[in-house]
Symmetry: D5
């Protein structure tokens, strides 16, 4: 069973059972964002986490096995995403990329925000003019090593 088939089986079972990602995450004992990215094949689950997914979704062992394999990451088929929701994040990097560079550098010096020692959260912020999506990116600052 390939990674993509495992993902499809998971999404089909989730739809059939009427579960949300948050409910599956609770069963797994992890944050919904991390859990979702793992179900979409971008993270490696522990044996226990994978078993919880298989249990809550009534899926066979090979799905659980697949979730424990080390994933080849990168979830998009194109360099510039065509889906409008995902494109907006690409646009933010295009428009605000140099701003991020300038401000992080001014505050921290030469280095990067890690995308590995990294967490992400997604929240709904109620607003009378229309609710808002709030995405929080939180990564360790890594200074360039000098030697």
């Amino acid at each position: 069973m390939e990674k993509q088939s495992a993902t499809e089986a998971i999404l089909a079972a989730k739809e059939e059972k009427g579960l949300t990602f948050a409910q599956i995450a609770e069963a797994v004992g992890r944050h919904p964002v991390w859990t979702t990215s793992a179900l979409l094949g971008q993270q490696q689950m522990s044996e226990k986490e994978a078993a919880a997914v298989a249990a809550v979704l009534d899926l066979p062992d090979e799905v659980a096995a697949q979730l424990q394999r080390f994933p080849t990451k990168g979830s998009l088929p194109e360099t510039v995403p065509t889906d409008p929701l995902i494109y907006r994040f690409h646009e933010i990097v295009q428009v605000y990329g140099t701003t991020l560079k300038a401000l992080i550098h001014e505050e921290f010096g030469d280095g990067i925000m890690s995308a590995i020692d990294f967490e992400m959260d997604i929240e709904r912020v109620p607003d009378p003019k229309g609710d808002r999506v709030k995405v929080t990116l939180n990564g360790k600052f890594l200074p360039y090593r000098k030697w």
Copy 2:
């Protein structure tokens, strides 16, 4: 005077005077992230905001005029950024793009997070294991119109 020359003049004056982006933003009366992106040519300033920049940096009127022109946005010379700091944000879109899609859709339905009715903040989060960069993206949810 072209947009790029204006940006270079601003950055040179900022370096010479030893000002931070936050200090210029205070003079402008705007958030440091918005102000920085405007100074880097990605936003349009009002006459008063542009005048404040020129004043605090001792720059000629044509710099202020340039800051009020409508900008052609997109700050990066390549589709896939080569600078490691900026690339990490591209990587986050690659790795977590489908996760963002799945979770925003589940919560809000078919639509996008606006990158126009949008704010961004960048903070330093102290951490004994190494301080962290926290970037908050906050955009209005826009549902797809049906007609």
Copy 3:
């Protein structure tokens, strides 16, 4: 059943029954343009709308289920379309893109025309020198948020 198979089944049933997109749209209770884009996998139908499609085309429930899933949008396999009809619209963006930018900015200020809070219409305009195609794009103006 995948999105593409659902689309193929729909187009085959439509051809066999000799229905137009407008007739299906009437059954659905939506505009023909929106309905067509939903049938081609670019919009999300409600349960009732999807059931109407299945009924009018005698298609199984899984087609209706597919029409209610959230679509990964972007209908073209290439960045520059090769089909001449679709390419003409790409050419219009190439030739008139800066004109659109200049005039919308002059009228509205810095912002965009939304492609989400957006409607499109396609009409035939009779003309003795050859009928004309009239495409109307209608999107909400979204000003850049300052903060």
Copy 4:
């Protein structure tokens, strides 16, 4: 004097004199959209039209000469535009391209909407929930010739 320099001289003079594209168009005797695209180097003006531009903007003869040269069209530096306003039109082609193909074909048969025998209009549509941009594309239908 090159085309790009002529465009820059025109935009600078327009800004200095505080004229709108519509006012220049009136002087030229053409629609504002056509006039703007000509000023941006995408159309060929007649001698009289070019003279009107030079007169209203106090520009030298070589600008008028440049406006009468046949333009190499295509106003964007990249295939996928990075400016968010222009990108939205690219996105519309991506998301609605196959819809345009299906509906134009159903109505007219195999052929295209001309981008040459073509007019475009841009209007502001007042709306209490936020004004809207209405762009009308109007091109002659050209059926594929059989031989």
Copy 5:
């Protein structure tokens, strides 16, 4: 049955029966170039033309149905063709593109040669130093509309 399968079935039957494109074209009642491009999935046949193809090649009705569907045009898998015969035509556009632009503009004014109201012919020109291929492109001149 997909377009590509129809094309493959047609070419296989043509090879088996030892027919030339010109012979099929005669049965169809169209020019060999147009007929060939239709058989290769780039044109839309009428019911009668499609029936003639099915008859002369002993092919089932679904091939005839496929030939009447509206084709997504563009016959090449790459932007720059790798097949040497087809590449030479790409090279002609590369080397002579600006020449075509300059001479058509000088003769006709600003506009294009239509690729829709268009005919092509291919002939063998006997020559003692080696026979020559003569390709004639014949398209209606379309002047840019001013409005």
Copy 6:
């Protein structure tokens, strides 16, 4: 003096003197298409031909010298041309490329139409429904050598 500067000087002088490409070609003693492509830097002129250009356009010797240098060919800045007139020829290769391959192969066997031992002509064909552009491509057939 670089090739591009020579081309610009030639076009400026041609415009000032009000000469057509055909008139320059007559002075050179060559076909207008070949002459135009040489003036645009795609062919190598003999000393006598280059001198005729310099004489008829009152241009200095270094322009004549440049016209005799061996040109790096390829007149277009992009793989997919953005100018609509030139794009139409690219589109013809996209849509009719496999047709050209199939028919030339059927008539001649495995080989190509030379783009080197090659001539091109451009004519205006009067037509009551709108004059037509006729472009003739004429190249030697070169069979693949077997060894």
Copy 7:
């Protein structure tokens, strides 16, 4: 049977029988380089040549039929080859391309080395410091036609 399947069947049979390309070429009566490129789907064999391949490799008639079809040439899946052996030849074109242009032009005038009226040979040159590969490219010079 498709071209690729024919190639795979040929290579499998060759491996099983322990034949070299040179031995198959001898059976065909052609040079090993030409024969190899034909077996890899880049040349068109005569009926007799194809029959010899089928005989020496014990392959069915449809393989022989495939070898006589006209091939769509271009054997590499990417523009820049990733296989190191093939990349070295790409690198030679990158590094020595302008050298080839300068020297062929100086010796022959404006024109090309044909890749159609063309032969290639590959030899092993014994050398005490390590044997060498010698590749000979031999193509007819084709001067640009003037008209």
Copy 8:
């Protein structure tokens, strides 16, 4: 003085003095192909070789200094060359790349033909049917190291 300026100065002096690449190579004491590629900025000359170039072409010391700097190699501005002469070599890699791989591997085992320990020669081969260009590539075979 940059590498490109040095190359231009060399070519201009060569043209003015009416020297061939072979004559310069003789002065340098190297093969004409190597010398030409060095003059075009693709090889590093010794002090004595560079001095010989400067002497025979009456060029200043800084040209000689430039010829001794280590070159960033790669002489072509595009991945797929547009100049027809250079493209033919690209086409040979496209069409015969897998043939080169198969035959070199059969003869030598897994490895490559070096493009570093490498020589190239270009000769004119007289032929009554039209002279031929013969290009010889000669590189050391390098077997893949196993460890």
Copy 9:
């Protein structure tokens, strides 16, 4: 059996038997890095080495046969890798590429580090602040041949 299927069978068997790459390498009698790259289809094994793999993993003869075939090298589907682990190595080439060029040239003169006569090693370096990955690249210096 294709190369990719062989790789998948090998990885599945390795997972099932709970073997490490190092253990398989020991059975093969080669270094773990070389063995891993061979198992991933990038090297050619001898008959004995391939048999050892088949034996230790209980795999059929055709897997062993596949491992002895000459591999088409290049293990990544994209030019810029999207997997973060592999991308870091791409980034190192981007950031340190000119440094490698400058220092190798200064030490060795004009030439390259071979990627063929080449070994790689990967080690874990314990470190109280977090263990480190040490990758050693070791290739023969090949000076550019002058001729």
Copy 10:
């Protein structure tokens, strides 16, 4: 003074004074690899380090100022490098990328080798069969954070 001009001034001064990168590094008090990459504009120097460079090379203060600015990293103009020395490292990533992924994952679990908390060394390894280049990459392992 821009970054590139600073780099050029540094390299020119280094050549004129006959210094090696190692000698400059000694003056700076850093490793030669780090120092070289800083001189090539890929690292940020401290005030003292930059002053040492200016002193040892007799360069003005603005070069020292430039070396302290935060660099936009990425030293190569193309995605696939054309210079053969740098390409070999790209090839190593292509050929051994999946091997690096498999072995680092097996040893460390899901994560990456940092290219930020990273050191590189380049050594000459004498070898009677030809000296070898040894490049050591040493980066901290960063495990993927789970949350």
